[in-house]
């Protein structure tokens, strides 16, 4: 009811539909369609489980995107804390009821899908902090008292996720939160202190790392260290991308993925597969598409009047950018394999849901750009 009221208030549905940013919608759609082809290729050129379920998810969550975007931005602002708390509870329940797969406990069994609350938390934290800093005055911004809540709100989910263990997602959640704080105006010195503390705590943190995580970091530093073990993924991914050359091996002809040399090709390494089949120009196109999406979000941030809207859009754009870049740097051998999906392209319901939800709020900022949030 609350939702319905929010949609029907203010201007009519027609106006709202007119004020949608169609460039952004179109970019997302194109990327989605590309991802379907890529998924089709990972299934060996057949409509199998991954392809079918990816297509279904894309359209379901694309619908969610519209639904979210038609809801008043005021609503999302008002419910931000609540959303954060709901996501946090979900994250907490993973700790107790979560599904364990390959040594890490990340998922909640919701019968129709396995939900990964850590993905949702990526958006949840941004929402929470955007609202928080929207309300904190510029004078109080850098007082320690007002730093306390954001730090708690950031550290708690990050620790929860890190101990699942899921180092990659926890880092990405943290990155999103830090971006909000910094954009809001928190002084550089606090970040510098944090880095200092982090470095001091690093040896302690390393001692808590699982052996496979340590091995991944060492392998990143020297992939040939263990070419058939942990270094295998990086090496094979580089071979796949490099062998794609300028124009790629052609759709469905990526021998590296087709012959199973490529690990995790539906999820983290989907860009590798695409890059192998479509080469440098294909990869460049994907990169530009992501850049376009990011710049559209930033543009919406420029248009929107509320501090909340601006903070949210800028932060989300930056976080989105970070997700993309981290994934690509990982598969290009520039970062250790930490396990982070490529937004929209990668297989995975929770990531798709979180991304579409986040983008929906962005679009809501666009549609209700002139409405004050409080």
């Amino acid at each position: 009811m609350l939702l319905q009221r929010s949609i029907h208030s203010s201007s009519g549905l027609k106006d709202k539909i007119f004020s949608i940013d169609y460039v952004l919608v179109f970019s997302i759609l194109v990327l989605g369609i590309i991802s379907m082809f890529a998924m089709y290729s990972t299934d060996g050129g057949e409509f199998k489980y991954h392809t079918n379920s990816h297509i279904l998810r894309f359209f379901v969550f694309f619908g969610l995107f519209f639904l979210v975007s038609l809801v008043q931005i005021r609503f999302w602002h008002n419910q931000s804390f609540l959303i954060y708390i709901v996501f946090f509870i979900l994250l907490l329940s993973v700790k107790y009821f979560g599904l364990t797969s390959s040594g890490s406990q990340r998922w909640l069994d919701l019968y129709f899908m396995n939900l990964q609350p850590s993905e949702l938390m990526k958006v949840g934290l941004i929402l929470f902090l955007a609202k928080y800093y929207h309300r904190v005055s510029i004078e109080n911004m850098n007082s320690l008292r007002y730093l306390f809540l954001p730090i708690v709100a950031l550290i708690s989910p990050v620790l929860l996720v890190a101990t699942q263990p899921d180092l990659g997602t926890s880092i990405l959640i943290a990155a999103g939160g830090i971006v909000v704080a910094w954009l809001a105006g928190v002084r550089i010195k606090f970040f510098a202190y944090s880095v200092l503390i982090f470095i001091i705590l690093l040896p302690v943190a390393i001692s808590f790392l699982k052996p496979y995580q340590k091995s991944r970091i060492l392998t990143f530093l020297n992939p040939e260290r263990d070419p058939l073990g942990a270094g295998y993924q990086i090496i094979q991914s580089k071979i796949a991308i490099g062998s794609g050359g300028l124009f790629g091996k052609g759709f469905l002809n990526g021998s590296q993925s087709y012959l199973d040399y490529l690990p995790e090709k539906h999820t983290d390494f989907i860009f590798t597969l695409f890059s192998e089949e479509f080469g440098f120009f294909g990869s460049l196109f994907i990169l530009l598409l992501y850049a376009l999406i990011v710049s559209r979000i930033v543009k919406i941030g420029n248009l929107t009047r509320s501090t909340f809207g601006k903070l949210y859009c800028y932060s989300f754009a930056t976080a989105f950018f970070i997700y993309v870049v981290v994934n690509m740097m990982m598969v290009l051998g520039l970062l250790p394999i930490v396990g982070s999906p490529l937004p929209i392209m990668s297989y995975g319901g929770s990531s798709m849901m979180a991304t579409m939800f986040g983008l929906g709020i962005v679009m809501s900022c666009k549609i209700y750009k002139d409405t004050p949030v409080n």
Binding site: S137, L183, G242, Q256, L259, T307, Y314
Partner: protein, 644 residues
């Protein structure tokens, strides 16, 4: 507390926008970095990564080529190929190699020793390289493997081809093939790229001589494989090239026939066309099973071969060294005639022995042969006559003639096992024994004893070159349709003794090499050989052939192994009373038919006793067989020579 003032909002907005601008700039830099990385991987290093990707993708398996076939003159296969059922194992495709071996052990009954051997091999080679678990399965074992195949990951049933010899009759001249050894790989350059599991190489005989050409070129199968080594699809197949096939001059029927005649004897027979040097038959006895070597030799069988005193593995026709005995008398006579030492009419008196510097030299006929001239000397094989001739001739002139007629050097080329033998002379003795020559040794040489060592194939060549009128021929075992025209030359000469040669024959025979000074001397020796085989008193008279089609002229020989003591001589000890190992070797050489010679033969029976009694009857039967098949052979020879 929370204070969202409007003026505040504007400042805040500005701050946010400024910081966002910084972030955007950073993003652009990062984007450029990513593009740079893509350029580096996909453009600058594309070639490197493409080859790495192909290295991942393709894997090659080598295919052993099919060995060429060896045929006889009538295109019968002497060494052929048969399908072979093998079980290969690709270690990386097996889930649990130990469990797999347990299963295979039960199914194929593999001994524990072999399994540990295979496991050692697996450790040495690359995980995708197949090893041969079982080399030669019969059909029922092979179908059993196929039945259980679904539960034997990594096991591959393979139908290949392997050498197959129809029988053992030509085992020595053909040789045998066996698995490549480390030594083969080191010593034979052509094997460098041929190392394929299951590859066999020729170890002896023709198989070894022809190995480089007969082995063929290796093929390969290129497969696309997935990350788990599973073959996804065949990309390219190169069957390689089957080895070259060879046709020999041998006659399989004669080989088989001779082999039966020689059964249980340690003996060798060589038959040669006296004009073109075609070796029609080359048999050594006892024989062995060449098929037993193809798939790894059974130890028991090997030991039985090694311990057999008749030495079945030796090719006696080419590597057996025997004193030529009295067969050398043909050459002693010829040498003496050519050098003008004796005239055919010169006589000596044989009293059964002569004495020289106090040493007694006995004739085999204790009573003596009485007055002996050259013809009678050969007919009766009178030792005293040849002692006298040799003494006058001297060993150096004898050795010259003997070498001219083919003794003392190998007859065929590229047979590692062929031996050259010894034609002694004064220089030779000085060099190899370091002593001066004694005149007594000349006498021994005159009857083919002492240092003289010859192989049956040499004796056959010697006989052939006497039989064809004294012309040099080049013996051959690989068929060559280029017949020389010696045959036509002789025919023409026989029909028109006084005419000059027609031009074409003269041209063709430009490079005929006569081994004589006066051909009349050759004819004298041939006539004497005729009398030895066909006139009463001749040493092989009892085994003559009266049908002129088969009439042969020959010379017997019995080469002494051990000197008779005076006591034995007095007691008239017979050969059959001696220990096997102490008996004389029985030799016989001949050519036939006498009035139109076509073939020469040599027979050696180790420890057979008397040449006339043991070797001549064998020669007689073989000659008959060969001559019966002569027309067939000629027909084929001419049909091949003509353009179709």
């Amino acid at each position: 507390m929370l204070n969202p003032g409007s003026g505040n909002t504007v400042i805040k907005s500005k701050l946010i926008s400024r910081r966002m601008f910084l972030l955007t700039a950073a993003k652009a830099v990062v984007m450029l970095g990513l593009v740079g990385r893509l350029i580096s991987l996909q453009i600058n290093q594309a070639t490197k990564y493409k080859s790495l990707s192909d290295k991942n993708r393709f894997r090659e398996w080598k295919l052993a080529p099919e060995r060429g076939v060896i045929k006889d003159f009538f295109n019968q296969e002497l060494a052929s190929n048969e399908p072979l059922y093998q079980v290969h194992l690709v270690p990386e495709n097996a889930q649990n190699i130990n469990k797999l071996f347990v299963r295979l052990k039960v199914i194929l009954n593999i001994p524990e020793k072999k399994i540990s051997y295979l496991k050692r091999i697996i450790k040495k080679q690359k995980p995708w390289e197949p090893i041969i678990v079982s080399d030669n399965l019969n059909w029922s074992e092979f179908s059993k493997i196929n039945l259980f195949l679904h539960e034997l990951d990594g096991v591959e049933p393979v139908v290949s081809v392997a050498r197959k010899y129809p029988d053992n009759s030509s085992a020595h001249i053909l040789g045998y093939v066996s698995q490549i050894s480390a030594k083969d790989l080191q010593t034979k350059k052509y094997l460098k790229d041929l190392s394929v599991p299951g590859m066999t190489v020729g170890k002896t005989g023709l198989e070894r001589k022809l190995d480089e050409e007969i082995i063929g070129k290796i093929g390969f199968q290129r497969y696309e494989v997935n990350a788990f080594g599973k073959r996804i699809k065949e990309i390219k197949i190169n069957q390689g090239q089957a080895g070259k096939s060879f046709k020999t001059t041998l006659d399989y029927e004669v080989q088989k026939y001779t082999n039966i005649l020689l059964e249980d004897k340690a003996a060798a027979v060589c038959v040669m066309d006296i004009y073109n040097g075609d070796i029609v038959s080359l048999v050594s006895s006892p024989t062995f099973q060449p098929n037993a070597f193809v798939h790894g030799l059974d130890k028991k069988y090997w030991n039985s071969l090694i311990s057999n005193e008749k030495k079945p593995l030796t090719n006696k026709a080419m590597s057996g060294l025997y004193p030529p005995g009295s067969t050398i008398k043909t050459l002693v006579a010829l040498s003496a005639l050519e050098n003008g030492i004796v005239k055919p009419s010169d006589t000596f008196r044989c009293k059964g022995k002569i004495e020289l510097h106090g040493e007694k030299f006995h004739c085999w006929e204790k009573k003596g042969h009485g007055v002996v001239n050259l013809r009678k000397g050969i007919q009766r094989s009178c030792d005293v006559y040849f002692y006298e001739v040799a003494r006058k001739l001297g060993v150096d002139r004898l050795s010259e003639t003997a070498k001219k007629f083919g003794l003392g050097k190998t007859v065929l080329s590229d047979f590692v096992e062929e031996r050259a033998g010894v034609v002694p002379n004064t220089k030779w003795k000085k060099k190899f024994i370091g002593q001066n020559w004694y005149i007594g040794e000349t006498l021994h040489s005159g009857i083919g004893q002492g240092y003289f060592q010859s192989t049956p194939i040499q004796l056959c060549l010697m006989t052939a070159q006497i039989a064809n009128g004294g012309f040099k021929i080049k013996p051959r075992i690989i068929f060559d349709k280029n017949d020389n025209s010696l045959r036509d030359y002789i025919k023409f000469k026989n029909k028109n003794p006084d005419q000059t040669l027609p031009v074409d024959l003269a041209v063709n025979n430009f490079n005929l090499q006569p081994l004589f000074k006066n051909q009349e001397n050759i004819n004298l020796v041939k006539d004497a050989m005729f009398s030895s085989s066909n006139e009463p008193g001749g040493t092989s008279y009892r085994h003559r052939m009266e049908n002129p089609k088969f009439t042969f002229a020959g010379k017997t020989g019995s080469s002494q192994i051990k000197r008779f003591t005076e006591a034995q001589r007095e007691a008239e000890i017979k050969q059959s009373d001696l220990n096997y190992k102490d008996r004389d070797h029985a030799l016989f050489i001949a050519f036939a038919p006498y009035n139109d010679p076509k073939y020469a033969i040599s027979v050696v029976v180790e420890h057979g006793g008397s040449g006339g009694k043991v070797a001549a009857p064998i020669a007689k039967k073989v000659i008959k067989k060969v001559l019966e098949r002569h027309d067939m052979r000629q027909e084929l020879n001419y049909s091949i020579g003509e353009p179709v």
